[in-house]
Symmetry: C2
Subunit: 472 residues, 2 copies
């Protein structure tokens, strides 16, 4: 544990101890750099405290029926946070400072001003400043709804009881995961999403499959509309389409996230930024030499694995500037741990549309038509893959179904290593796994590109899997 020395010029100062900041602090300390880590909230950031960790713990607790899922989740979360806090506080190369940091115009060496919880002002100097300030949920008031009945993910896990009817504003990852968890806990769940579909960044086929699966499990999914106000003492929600939903006792705002730029004084320091976040190059450099940014605050990721990957890249750029590159940033997967689970990797759906309009082919497989879908009574499941027409190069792949976040790695490998569907022909997946859908998609691609082979060969090639058996 290192005490703060205000006369010292540190090697690095990291603003924010979330997923990105922890990666930076531990990584640079590993290269014998003296690091100041400044955090105004809890060590661990959103991921540990109000994000991935408690949400996954609650999903687990709800699924297996832990007696008090919310309390169990908090205990898991607190234990991890305490561990991470101790680890930072006791690290001999890291000085953990509680407070909110802002940049200045004194650039070389860089000076950062920190306001402590007691109101003191600290001035800390460092060669490199890395902004890992993260993001925060978008907040807005809703007519007729008392503040204590409107929560974001920042308050959700502090509930002392399970709501009877949860209305979720937004249809993204947080919404779907909490719809799943609270559904398992016995809560009636309504999702209101202003876009025409859930998971608007995913393929429409993914959105449709997820919506159908959630509806089949009793979640009331409303898309293409918004929550206008609450009436009747706040228990009846009125939507923009005029429909009314009675009995609502809690509203979860999960309507997107914004980078936390407000307190940073970016303009004073001359750091370029836009609405999405701080502008960086491939290594995390801002326009101001010695000032870097990593993670959600850049708008380039909203995930822990994304912040970690970016953070590793920036650690390398700072600590080993002359080391030959080990390769650029790899394909970035996304995962939603709802039921059904959703994962995707590759270009965005918009990029696929724009860049490959003519030469793109789409292949899909319905997981319910595979033998494992049959034995497990799977109701909804999908793999959709966009490829270049002739090469089979994978542009984007998405999975909706059991363990999607685990086997998306098959496609991540394909993208990272330039393995098109043509080369994947013959790769064997265990029977009866859901991942056999990958083989089916490869067969469909091969059939398209080897049209001389008779169609029925491909029926055989699919093996023991018979189409439409469940409809027979």
């Amino acid at each position: 544990m290192a005490e703060l020395d205000p006369t010292h010029t540190y090697d690095a100062l990291v603003i924010g101890a979330g997923s990105g900041g922890l990666t930076l602090a531990i990584g640079l300390a590993g290269f014998d750099r003296d690091v100041v880590l400044v955090e105004g909230g809890d060590v661990g950031g959103d991921c540990t405290n109000v994000g991935c960790v408690p949400s996954k713990a609650l999903l687990h607790a709800a699924r297996v029926g832990e007696p008090d899922g919310l309390a169990w989740t908090r205990a898991k979360r607190d234990h991890l946070r305490d561990h991470e806090t101790d680890e930072m506080a006791e690290h001999e190369r890291i000085t953990l400072v509680a407070g909110w940091a802002r940049l200045t115009d004194r650039r070389d060496p860089h000076v950062v001003l920190v306001t402590t919880p007691a109101g003191d002002e600290l001035e800390i100097r460092a060669e490199h400043v890395v902004v890992c300030a993260g993001s925060a949920p978008v907040r807005f008031d809703i007519d007729g709804l008392a503040a204590e009945r409107l929560v974001t993910n920042e308050e959700l896990f502090e509930l002392d009881r399970v709501p009877e009817h949860l209305l979720i504003v937004g249809g993204g990852p947080i919404s779907l995961e909490m719809a799943t968890a609270f559904g398992d806990l016995g809560t009636t769940v309504t999702i209101v999403e202003r876009e025409e579909r859930l998971l608007a960044n995913e393929d429409p086929l993914v959105s449709d499959t997820v919506a159908a699966a959630l509806r089949a499990r009793g979640v009331d999914v409303r898309t293409g509309t918004t929550l206008e106000r609450l009436e009747a003492d706040g228990s009846t929600a009125v939507l923009a389409d005029g429909s009314r939903i009675d009995g609502v006792d809690l509203v979860l705002l999960a309507a997107g996230r914004r980078p936390k730029l407000d307190r940073l004084d970016l303009d004073t320091a001359g750091v370029a930024h836009g609405r999405r976040g701080i502008t960086i190059d491939d290594w995390g450099r801002t326009n101001v030499p010695g000032i870097w940014a990593v993670g959600d605050v850049t708008g380039e990721t909203l995930t822990t694995h994304g912040a970690n990957a970016m953070g590793r890249r920036t650690v390398r750029a700072i600590a080993l500037p002359k080391l030959p590159t080990l390769g650029g940033l790899r394909a970035m997967p996304q995962a939603v741990y709802s039921r059904p689970e959703v994962a995707s990797v590759g270009l965005s759906t918009a990029e696929v549309e724009r860049r490959h309009l003519a030469g793109r082919r789409r292949y899909t497989a319905d997981l319910t038509e595979l033998d494992r879908g049959y034995t497990d009574d799977l109701d909804h499941g999908l793999v959709v893959v966009d490829v270049e027409r002739f090469t089979g190069r994978v542009l984007r792949a998405a999975i909706v179904g059991p363990a999607a976040a685990e086997w998306i790695g098959i496609f991540t490998m394909a993208i990272d290593h330039g393995i098109g569907l043509r080369k994947m022909f013959g790769t064997i997946h265990p029977y009866p796994s859901h991942a056999q859908a990958v083989g089916r998609i490869v067969d469909d691609f091969t059939r398209d590109t080897l049209p001389a082979l008779p169609a029925e060969w491909w029926g055989m090639a699919r093996g023991r899997v018979f189409d439409r058996i469940r409809r027979s």
Copy 2:
């Protein structure tokens, strides 16, 4: 639907309508070949009737608490069997013949003799004969145990009630899956395995992890001993080590499988075979031109995906003998759908030991130490990867843990496409997935091969994952 024409020389005759035989029949029919498919039992073979399909259905039913899991399983199985039977019976290029086939010494064109259930003898001629006779469980009597209380997988799914105490002889895939399913159904389960460990074909670390997990869930695992006899009216099992197990009401023999060679008259036809099965080349050819063998009967696989992959290869060799190869047989994964799930791919453990003794390195990751293991309260989970020391070429990989059969495909891709761990550096897996263990293993390998980097960098490189947190 085609009637049998005893004067016709068919393009192919397939003996056995299991996983291999269906692949052959449908595949060759797809190339406009006239196929006779001879089956003495049920269409679908072991997989559909007494293997993968009912076992996976029962695992699902038991896990989700279907009211009558055994009846539910039989209904699923029967529906699939009926569908497959109809599909074969109605196929215009396939003549389905009920009966037991045997080879003859009349080789060109080949004549096969078939004994029908009514006792009639048919003589059928075909250019190509493909033996897909499958395998059967090893059977032996046990002193003091009435025949009706001794079952194999062939009788197990016909039980009219769930046993109170099931003793399973053998510790392989069938044993572990049925221990899991019947455990979920409320049965007390004892496993008696003569080898010193479960899953003797897997890595000992895999065996240890699986045994610990099963024991933690209440399964009584006895290794290095055998079931000698039953006493006390057959309710007390006496093991070779002298220990006694009371209250046993059913014994499941899951002590291995043997190719079904008996009825085939292989020696009459001069087809070479050994104890493991019929000897074949890479394309399924036996030593007798025009006689082929595929699947379990060759001893080269005991899986449906294995029989399917071999079958596809043989269809190609028969129907498209001049087509350039699309590549040899790919890496063959194995999967056990127990809880924990187990999957592996690559060389056998014996081959790894023999061929790479000096240049081999082993990397492991404990899934309970990853963040997802933490949030999901995972008790046991492991990834173990054997690689060539300098290149990182994957020789063998095994996973014990959630959805192992799905994400083993990451390693299957690595093996099929020659992607060593060195090239996998930086590949991003979703947080918090179990598959992040792959990234951890890659980091460990990279640390070994880039020793100039400080150790703590690698702590960072692991991201949000802290070792031994659960012990802290």
